[in-house]
Symmetry: C2
Subunit: 417 residues, 2 copies
């Protein structure tokens, strides 16, 4: 078994080869990766069956088993995902600014790959292929450290991708699944500050706090999404109700689902009965504030903990607030900087909501569920950053690059002699 550092150095060397490819060659690499995954389907499914058997023997919960499971359809989706990334626009080499100075010096800002990206994630083995595709699309190498429950699946997927790389004369280490699966190996990886350019932990809050605690390399965190819908006094109630139902009930376990409904006092008596009926019909449990409890028969009173919670389930906190400023104050106290929604008929109120809140995504009269790289036009996403640096909100291939300066002259100097 190679050490973490040996694997990281090998990844850096191979990443340098990827960085020197042009966009067409990188896309060809991705297509070769997709074809190889298709070809290796039987091996990948066999490896996954081993993970599933071991997980079942440990008495793993059904929901987790479902996340771990691969089948022909899921492998096909993985393959389609890699092909989709191949077809996206190439961020590398983009000239984002260009100036020519009076003395003829031409200054360009140009996008280049970050280098080596470490992905640390939990049970879902499809992340292995998704993350590898996006990292390579942007000219990077990637070191993957998935959950130990999925170790055979991840190893089989990475080995398959490695074969495709080698067939294209690129070091297989450009996609490296960490061989050392001790928890300490994550710490080692997160401290290789001369080799790893960025770490992206994806998973539960525990994993992310663990990574943040130990990292010496730059880290982009994807904390929880405590997303709010504020229904302003001027809102169209039918519109607000659509946003509420879409945000809370269509996929409650994801980070862009709504967790708290805030309602302007002036519209509470009109809106809350509609909300109560629609939520009840869909089996949503409500935790209501003093002023709204009468509208939700049998609801539990909302606590401080409820306002801060990411329920990831059919549970909703509800609070009536005096006005927009009270809604803003609530979100500043309890929010997670992910996504906030306002339903309003007044552009001035929308503007104030946008201006006062620092969340990564603000929705005006649109569902929180659009807070997603695919929906917002990135083509694919490697996560949703709640770190207020480098990338904020959904991150696509462009977020895996950095702009640098290329300056061309004809012998210009700063102090001519």
């Amino acid at each position: 078994m190679r050490t973490v550092k040996e694997q990281a150095l090998a990844c850096r060397a191979a990443a340098q080869q990827v960085a020197e490819l042009d966009g067409a060659a990188r896309n060809a690499l991705l297509l070769a990766m997709a074809a190889q995954l298709e070809q290796d389907e039987a091996q990948i499914l066999a490896a996954n069956a081993q993970d599933m058997a071991a997980a079942a023997a440990r008495g793993t919960a059904a929901a987790l088993l479902d996340r771990l499971r691969l089948d022909a359809a899921r492998v096909a989706a993985m393959v389609a995902g890699v092909r989709h990334v191949a077809g996206l626009p190439d961020p590398v080499g983009q000239v984002t600014r260009e100036d020519v100075r009076a003395d003829g010096l031409r200054i360009q800002r140009v996008r280049v790959p970050l280098g080596v990206i470490a992905m640390i994630y939990e049970a879902r083995p499809n992340v292995t292929a998704d993350a590898a595709a996006l990292c390579l699309k942007a000219g990077n190498g990637v070191i993957l450290r998935g959950g130990s429950e999925a170790q055979q699946s991840n190893r089989a997927i990475a080995a398959s991708l490695g074969r495709a790389l080698q067939a294209c004369c690129i070091g297989a280490a450009a996609v490296s699944a960490l061989e050392d699966l001790r928890r300490e190996s994550i710490i080692e990886l997160l401290q290789l500050s001369d080799i790893v350019d960025l770490a992206i932990p994806r998973g539960g809050e525990g994993l992310i706090r663990f990574a943040a605690e130990h990292a010496r390399v730059p880290l982009i965190k994807h904390y929880k999404g405590v997303c709010h819908l504020f229904v302003d006094a001027s809102a169209d109630t039918a519109l607000a109700l659509r946003l509420l139902i879409d945000g809370k009930t269509t996929r409650p376990a994801v980070c862009n689902a709504l967790e708290t409904l805030l309602v302007h006092a002036d519209i509470a008596a009109q809106f809350l009965p509609l909300a109560a009926a629609a939520l009840q019909a869909r089996g949503v449990e409500v935790r209501a504030c003093e002023r709204s409890r009468d509208f939700f028969a049998g609801s539990r009173p909302a606590t401080e903990a409820d306002y801060a919670a990411e329920f990831l389930d059919l549970v909703l906190a509800v609070r009536v607030v005096d006005d927009l400023d009270a809604a803003i104050a609530h979100i500043r106290s309890y929010g997670s900087d992910h996504t906030e929604v306002i339903a309003t008929g007044e552009p001035v109120q929308a503007q104030r909501f946008i201006q006062a809140l620092r969340s990564a995504v603000i929705m005006v009269n649109a569902s929180s569920r659009f807070s997603d790289g695919g929906e917002l036009g990135l083509g694919a996403e490697i996560g949703i950053s709640t770190t207020r640096l480098h990338a904020y909100g959904p991150m696509g291939a462009e977020s895996l690059t950095i702009e640098r300066y290329v300056v061309s002259g004809t012998g210009q100097v700063r102090h001519p002699q």
Copy 2:
């Protein structure tokens, strides 16, 4: 004395006020800060005289005393710097991308302030005003932790800026000089990950390593600049000589000065005699490789340590290399990702140099000394990042902001029911 956390919380509250100002109001704030500094000149100089006296009593070296010293001209330069920043374009609120989806959803990416920035720096008190101006220009608050040698000066400058803020109804804490001057206070500041959005350490390598070691908040490092000039076989020797002299001798103590000259073997016999004469005439000490020592009478042989050194002085390492690839390999081994220069007559060689190197700034036939925010069109800079994330190379006001999403609709949902 307030604790570090108390000061940071106060800064965050005041930063929120700054973030809500529009660009005109932020510029007015900067002009008020400049006027207040002018008005408080006598107090600032008196405080600086205390620092100077204490430093002299400790037997501080002349170079450091010069960096610490303020006089009327330096205060005037500080004031002019703040006014200059007020006149720069406003990065906040810029819409960097805009799309309208087929369903009418309008997606904007918009620049917003980062929040609270912690600056940790060494002796020069003018950094206090410069950093405050750029941070506030970009809508942020700033916590300043300057060197203890400059504590009276920094306190006087921050107090003056605070008076200007208060006169504009903004909390003085938007510019906070850390009151606690123990070294542990830096660690505390760097671990306030729920309050501080970015830390920028500026100074010697020791300070930066110390900060990187202890930080739990995102950090942008400004490590040393080991800048290279590669003279290709096809270079115009007169042009290459201009770049060498400008890069090495006009201000050797700064990070964009040249440290190592690499010369293609095919042009060595032609270029090195010219270089030797010009360097000798300017008192530059040369550390030469085996193949170049004969051209530099009395030079010391270059060691591994010389190739990795940031001399910050009139000292230059010289090495003859077989070709462009050998130059690239040298820079990859010994470079610091800051700025590299190629002198060449062949665009293909320039392209290969650009493609193969990952440094923040690449100069083709232009002096390394242009690697500076002012020269590259940023108007002013808060430092030069060698961290390959968020900002890479010279950082201006724009690098103190982040893009987020603002999405406007008319009730669109992801799963219409």
